[in-house]
Amino acid sequence: MTVAEAAATALATRHRVRPLEALPWVLAVAAFFALPEYLAVGTQILILVLFALSLDLVLGYAGIVTLGHAAFFGTGAYAVGLLSAHLDWHEPITGLIVAAAAAALVGLVSGWVLLRTHGLTLLMLTMATMTLLHELANEQENLTGGFDGLPVEIDPVLGLLRFSPLTYSGQYLYALGLLFLMFLVVRRVVYSPFGHSLTGIRENILRMHAVGAPVRQRLVTVYTISAAIAGVAGGLFAQVNAYITLDVLSLERAATALIVLILGGHGRLYGAFVGAALYMILEDELAKEFPEFWQFGLGLVLVLIALFAREGLTGLFAQAAERFRKRARS
């Protein structure tokens, strides 16, 4: 096989499902049965995975560096919260659809305005936009509950799955199901011709302009899709926690998704899974042992990853697998 043939095969087959891809789902289902007492934190991990996955679509595949993704997470969360609190709309699935639509709208408008910039400027603009939404939610305290927050009530999912604040088993299954659905969407987008053209924009924006690709339109499109998915993550967050505060629109939330994604490896679909799980479990366990000083350990891990695994953890695995394959071949 020549190099060109090998590359062609790789391109033609890369959308196929590999056996290893089943692993996170098997683990997630196994956790449901094996670790019933950890389902609350497990649910939060699933939501963070979904949120980071939406970020991966813009950051990892389209090269849009943003620090304002919580704008969409928060919009989704408040869509569900406001429906529940003011319109007695407690049906979960339609709630999430509204959340996705609201977040997509914010994504479309802000993307249209902001995506002409890049780099630090885009980082600041996305962050400032998110902060303006945060301020708006704070100002509209009568609607949003402001800093003190808003209780969210929802009906059982499909009339069957009831949420207990104590066990979180219903919440976990619901979050896992949704994550799976959304993952299929993201995977589909990434391996479509549209997804390839995004990677092209990331790698060489000038050439994409030169070949006549509608660069900005594609960036706005993927930004809107990503916003919708982040909106679903936010709506899901509101439903399973039954309570939201301004924190859903905070810089911390946006930054956490970014850190998680870099940690796990961006542009790799599964980076969000590895990063979110590692980050949350590490933070949780360290905080239990050292409530005052856990940040030191977490920081140390981030520093080490930055220095020694620049492609993130999944990148590290990929490199190791590559080396192993080469050795096997020779």
Binding site: L120, T121, M124, L125, L258, I262, W294, Q295, L298, G299
Partner: protein
């Protein structure tokens, strides 16, 4: 109709802008000039603040000596950081730099909490810097007048240093074209280390100078990060003059906005940021 004291608004805005400049100028050096996404700027500033507090509180040191000591100590310590942690990532993508420096922030927050505790710290200023000062047409806080002077002195010194000295010219050359500078016989590695030390030292001094107004606790490193970043981004990467101008513009608008329409809260500062960056995406004086 309430009376509005215009001179005090102008002075107040100017002082607030100078404060923003003083606490952000170090980032303008490390991120703006050197191109490293240095989210740990606030952490270096925080360490500088704690050095000042410790020297003044425990040892009764003079405010100015304590500031100088903070500059020197943090600059020296930052050399170790630069060699071990920053240098390997100079050519890495921004995201690795983000991860590294956020990690450092977390570690420094925990370290500061361990050694100095969680309580906010204050300093006792020399008496001539405390209280109001009569300027004839209005009276104004002495410390803020002092800050205006310090900010002006800093921008002049930095401008002279970068534009009028050989080493300044070398730094500009190395930042513009590293390889060319190297082939001209400039020791770029050493130059970068020195520049980083300068940036961190400035951060430390800003941390110390800011305590009186914006306080000091282990959260400092994260709390004000957004403001540092905004000032540098609006000013434009690679331009200390831009950072200075941006700090003044943001300071003035924010101050006047709060004075006249306090209900608007933080809207002003973010709205100006968005407006300026949409108008000039490279910042006021940015080169890229």
């Amino acid at each position: 109709m309430e009376s509005i004291d215009i001179p005090s608004i102008v002075l107040g805005g100017l002082a607030y802008g100078m404060l923003l400049f003083i606490v952000s100028v170090g980032l303008s050096v490390t991120m703006g000039l050197m191109g490293f996404v240095n989210l740990a700027h606030g952490a270096f500033a925080m360490i500088g603040g704690y050095v000042v507090v410790t020297l003044m509180g425990g040892l009764g040191a003079n405010f100015f000596l304590a500031l100088l000591a903070a500059f020197v100590l943090v600059a020296l310590v930052s050399v170790v950081f630069e060699r071990l942690l920053y240098a390997p990532l100079y050519r890495a993508d921004e995201l690795s730099q983000v991860l590294l420096t956020i990690g450092l922030v977390f570690m420094m927050i925990a370290t500061v909490t361990f050694f100095w505790g969680t309580e906010p710290k204050t300093i006792r200023l020399p008496s001539y810097l405390a209280g109001p000062m009569d300027l004839g047409f209005t009276s104004f806080p002495a410390y803020r007048i002092f800050m205006i002077g310090v900010g002006a002195a800093m921008i002049v010194a930095l401008w002279l240093g970068f534009e009028r000295t050989t080493i300044g010219a070398q730094i500009r050359a190395a930042v513009d074209n590293r390889r060319m500078a190297q082939s001209l016989g400039i020791n770029v590695d050493r130059l970068f280390t020195m520049t980083f030390a300068l940036g961190s030292g400035l951060a430390a001094m800003g941390g110390g100078l800011g305590i009186e107004i914006i306080g000091l606790n282990p959260q400092y490193a994260l709390n004000y990060l957004v403001f540092f970043l905004i000032v540098v981004a609006v000013g434009g990467l690679g331009s200390i003059r831009g950072t200075f101008l941006a700090a003044l513009v943001i300071g003035m608008f924010d101050f006047a906005g709060k004075r006249l329409y306090p209900e608007a809260g933080a809207f002003f500062i973010y709205a100006i940021t968005i407006a300026v960056l949409l108008w000039r995406p490279q910042g006021l004086f940015g080169r890229r």
